[in-house]
C-alpha cells in the first residue's frame, strides 16, 4: 500500500535550490537544532530511542542503541558515513547534493547528544559536486552560528569537517573508513572491539552513522520520536529512501513509509517504478544492495520491512532494489557482481581475496561459453569456502562482511536458475541477447 506519509528526508527536493542555506532556512532549517539545544543531550538521545530509528547504512542497527554503547571519555568523535559505494545505491548521493544542510544539522544534533568534540563527514571522493555543496553548507552553517564555539548562544561548541574519500568501496566499512580518515589505507580493523564506540578514530570512542540516518534527526527532534515511530510498523519505523534501478520504466529514488509499502508497489505502481521495461516479465530482484540474496516474483507482496526481509533470507541492506527482467542473463549478472567484489576486496583475508578471484573467473568462463558442467558445483564450493554452510546471515570467517557477501548473488542464481548455467555450458555460448542500450530522454 502506498500511504500518504509525507516525505521526511526528501521534503525539499522539489525546489531547484534545495541545497542553499536560503531555501533551508525558509523551510524550517536549523529549527530542530535550536530545539535540541534547549533540551539536555540525554533528552535528545531519548527522542532518538523513542523514534526507533534504524541505521540507514546497511546493517540496520538502532541509532539510539549505538550511541548508548559509547565508552565514556573526554574526547568523543562523530563520523558521518557518506562513502556510498554499494552497487545500485544512490540515495546518500542525492541527499549530499540536494540537501546538504539537513545532513549538517542532523550531524550537529547527533554530536550534541553524544557530546562529540569534533565531527567529520566522510564524503565519497567521486562526488565532486557533493563535496562542494557539503563544504559550502558547513561554511554557511558557521556563518549562521550553527557551528563553532558557541552554537546559537547555547554554550555548546562543535567543529565539522568534510573529508573526501579517494575511491575504495571498502572504506564504507566503518573501521576501514576510520583508517582512511586517519590517512592510511582502508583496511578494516580486526574485531573485537566490534564497535568504534569503544575504540574508534585516533583510538577514541567514535560513533559512525550513515548520511541518511543523520538526515532524519532534525525531523525527529522537531516532531518527536513518537511521531516517527508511528510511521511504519514495529522495528521498521519511519520512512526510508529507496533507490530503484535496473529494468523498470521509472528508475529513481522514492521515499516510502516502511513496512506498509510493498516491493510490488515500488516496482509496479505508475507513480513509482512504473512496471518492468517494455512490458517484460519480472525474473528476479535484489532487495537491498548487491550484498543481499535475491528475491523472486513470489516475494513481491512483502512489505519493505527489515525484519520480514531478514526472515525471508535476505536483507533490506542499503535500501537499493535492482530489477532483472526475463531478458536478463543471471550468469552475467552474478558475474558482474562477483567481479565487483573481486576488484574491491582489500586482500587481508585469504577466503575473500582468493575466493573472489575464483568465482569471478569461473562465472566469466561460463558466461563466455567455456564453462564445464562441474563448474556450477565448483562455484558453490568456492562460496562455501568463503562463508561455510552458505547460511543466512552468512557465517563470518573474515575480518569484515565484504567476503561473506560474495556468495549471495551466486547462490541465489544457481539455486533458482541452475538450468540456465547448464545451457551456457551445453551451447558453448550465452543464450541471452546483449543488454539493450537504454536511450536518453
Amino acid at each position: 500500500m502506498i500511504t500518504g506519509a509525507k516525505p521526511i528526508v526528501t521534503a525539499r527536493m522539489d525546489h531547484e535550490d534545495s541545497y542553499t542555506i536560503e531555501r533551508y532556512l525558509a523551510t524550517g532549517g536549523y529549527e530542530g537544532l535550536r530545539k535540541a539545544l534547549g533540551m539536555t543531550p540525554e533528552a535528545v538521545h531519548e527522542e532518538v530511542n523513542q523514534a526507533s530509528l534504524l541505521g540507514r547504512g546497511g546493517a540496520g542497527f538502532p541509532a539510539g542503541r549505538k550511541w548508548s554503547m559509547l565508552r565514556p571519555a573526554p574526547t568523543t568523535y562523530l563520523v558521518v558515513n557518506g562513502d556510498e559505494s554499494e552497487p545500485a545505491t544512490f540515495k546518500d548521493h542525492l541527499l549530499i547534493e540536494r540537501d546538504p544542510h539537513q545532513i549538517v544539522e542532523g550531524s550537529i544534533i547527533a554530536a550534541y547528544a553524544i557530546g562529540a568534540r569534533q565531527a567529520f563527514i566522510f564524503c565519497r571522493g567521486e562526488f565532486a559536486l557533493g563535496l562542494e555543496r557539503l563544504t559550502r553548507a558547513v561554511e554557511d552553517a558557521y556563518e549562521h552560528g550553527a557551528l563553532g564555539e558557541n552554537i546559537f548562544g547555547s554554550g555548546f561548541g562543535l567543529d565539522l569537517v568534510v573529508h573526501p574519500g579517494a575511491g575504495a568501496y571498502i572504506c564504507g566499512e566503518e573501521t576501514a573508513l576510520i583508517e582512511s580518515l586517519e590517512g592510511k589505507r582502508g583496511f578494516p580493523r580486526i574485531k573485537p572491539p566490534y564497535f568504534p564506540a569503544a575504540i574508534g578514530l585516533y583510538g577514541e570512542p567514535t560513533v559512525v552513522n550513515n548520511v541518511e540516518t543523520m538526515s532524519n534527526l532534525p525531523w525527529i527532534v522537531l516532531h518527536g520520536g513518537a511521531a516517527f515511530a508511528a510511521l511504519g510498523e514495529g522495528s521498521s519505523a519511519g520512512t526510508r529512501l529507496f533507490a530503484l534501478s535496473g529494468r523498470v520504466e521509472r528508475p529513481g529514488w522514492y521515499e516510502l513509509e516502511m513496512s506498509k509499502t510493498t516491493f510490488r508497489d515500488l516496482i509496479y505502481d505508475p507513480s513509482l517504478g512504473g512496471g518492468i521495461r517494455n512490458g517484460n516479465e519480472l525474473k528476479a530482484f535484489i532487495p537491498g544492495g548487491v550484498s543481499a540474496p535475491w528475491f523472486f516474483p513470489e516475494h513481491l507482496d512483502m512489505g519493505l520491512d527489515q525484519d520480514a526481509v531478514g526472515k525471508a533470507g535476505s536483507m533490506l541492506g542499503s535500501g537499493s532494489i535492482v530489477v532483472m527482467d526475463d531478458k536478463t542473463c543471471v550468469v552475467r549478472a552474478a558475474w558482474r557482481i562477483s567481479r565487483f567484489f573481486h576488484r574491491e576486496s582489500c586482500g587481508q583475508c585469504t577466503p575473500c581475496r582468493e575466493g573472489a578471484g575464483w568465482v569471478d573467473k569461473v562465472l566469466r568462463r561460463i558466461e563466455d561459453g567455456f564453462g564445464r558442467e562441474e563448474d556450477v558445483d565448483l562455484l558453490l564450493d568456492a562460496c562455501d569456502n568463503i562463508a561455510p554452510g552458505l547460511s543466512w546471515p552468512p557465517k563470518q570467517t573474515t575480518i569484515c562482511v565484504l567476503g561473506p557477501s560474495i556468495p549471495s548473488s551466486i547462490v541465489s542464481a544457481v539455486d533458482r536458475f541452475r538450468d540456465e548455467f547448464l545451457v551456457h555450458v551445453k551451447d558453448g555460448a550465452c543464450p541471452f541477447p546483449p543488454d539493450e542500450v537504454r536511450h536518453a530522454g
Binding site: Q118, E139, H163, E182, G183, R336, D435
Partner: protein
C-alpha cells in the same frame, strides 16, 4: 616537474589544521596535488609527506590503495563508464565497447593527443541515470552510444569547460573556517 605551488602549499596548511592529527590530511592533500598536474608527481608526494609528517614512501603506498589517485600521468579528461549491475542492465558494455572504438584506445589507455583517458568504473551512485558516465568526476547520464560521441565532442571543443574542470575534486571546494570550538583548551593540551 615541481612540487606544490605556493598557493597550494598555503591551502595545504589550512587543511592540515582541520585535523587533530596531521596524517589525516594525507588524502585531501593528495587530491590537491593531483589537481595541479593531473597526477601525483614525486615532488608533490614529497611535499605531502612533509606536511603530514610521514615518509614519501608512505604517501605513495597509501595513494596506491585508492582508485582515484594516480601516480602516472592521465589525459585531461578521465572518462569513466560505469559497467556495474544497474548500468550493465542498461547496456553499459555496448557503450564501453563503442567508447573504445570511438576513442581508438582500450580501457586504461590515454589518447595520443593527451585529451582522454578511458576507465571502466564501478557503481558511481548514479544508477537511475544508467548508463552513467563521469568525466573528471562530473556526472553525465543516461549516456548511449550517440550520447558518448556528443559528450566527447563537447569536451574536446571546450564547450563543457565550465561544467568539467581539469582534474581534481577539491578545486572548487572552499573551506575558510578554522577549528573554532575548542580553541582555548587546544593550546593547553599541546
Amino acid at each position: 616537474m615541481s612540487g606544490l605551488t605556493p598557493e597550494n602549499l598555503h591551502k595545504a596548511e589550512t587543511i592540515v589544521a582541520l585535523y587533530p592529527e596531521r596524517r589525516s590530511a594525507l588524502i585531501p592533500l593528495c587530491h590537491l596535488a593531483q589537481a595541479q598536474e593531473g597526477y601525483l608527481t614525486e615532488e608533490c608526494m614529497e611535499d605531502v609527506a612533509l606536511l603530514c609528517g610521514v615518509s614519501a614512501a608512505e604517501v605513495r603506498g597509501t595513494a596506491s590503495f585508492y582508485d582515484m589517485l594516480h601516480t602516472e600521468p592521465v589525459g585531461r579528461y578521465v572518462v569513466a563508464v560505469c559497467t556495474n549491475i544497474a548500468c550493465m542492465l542498461a547496456g553499459a558494455y555496448s557503450v564501453l565497447t563503442h567508447a573504445e572504438e570511438h576513442l581508438g584506445i582500450r580501457v586504461g589507455q590515454t589518447t595520443h593527443d593527451g585529451l582522454f583517458t578511458l576507465e571502466e568504473a564501478e557503481c558511481l551512485a548514479g544508477c537511475d541515470k544508467a548508463v552513467c558516465v563521469q568525466v573528471n568526476h562530473r556526472f553525465f547520464g543516461p549516456v548511449d552510444r550517440e550520447g558518448f560521441d556528443r559528450l566527447t565532442g563537447d569536451l574536446a571543443s571546450g564547450r563543457l569547460d565550465d561544467e568539467v574542470p581539469h582534474h581534481g575534486v577539491l578545486n572548487r571546494v572552499e573551506r575558510t573556517h578554522e577549528l573554532e570550538a575548542h580553541r582555548e583548551s587546544e593550546g593547553a593540551e599541546r
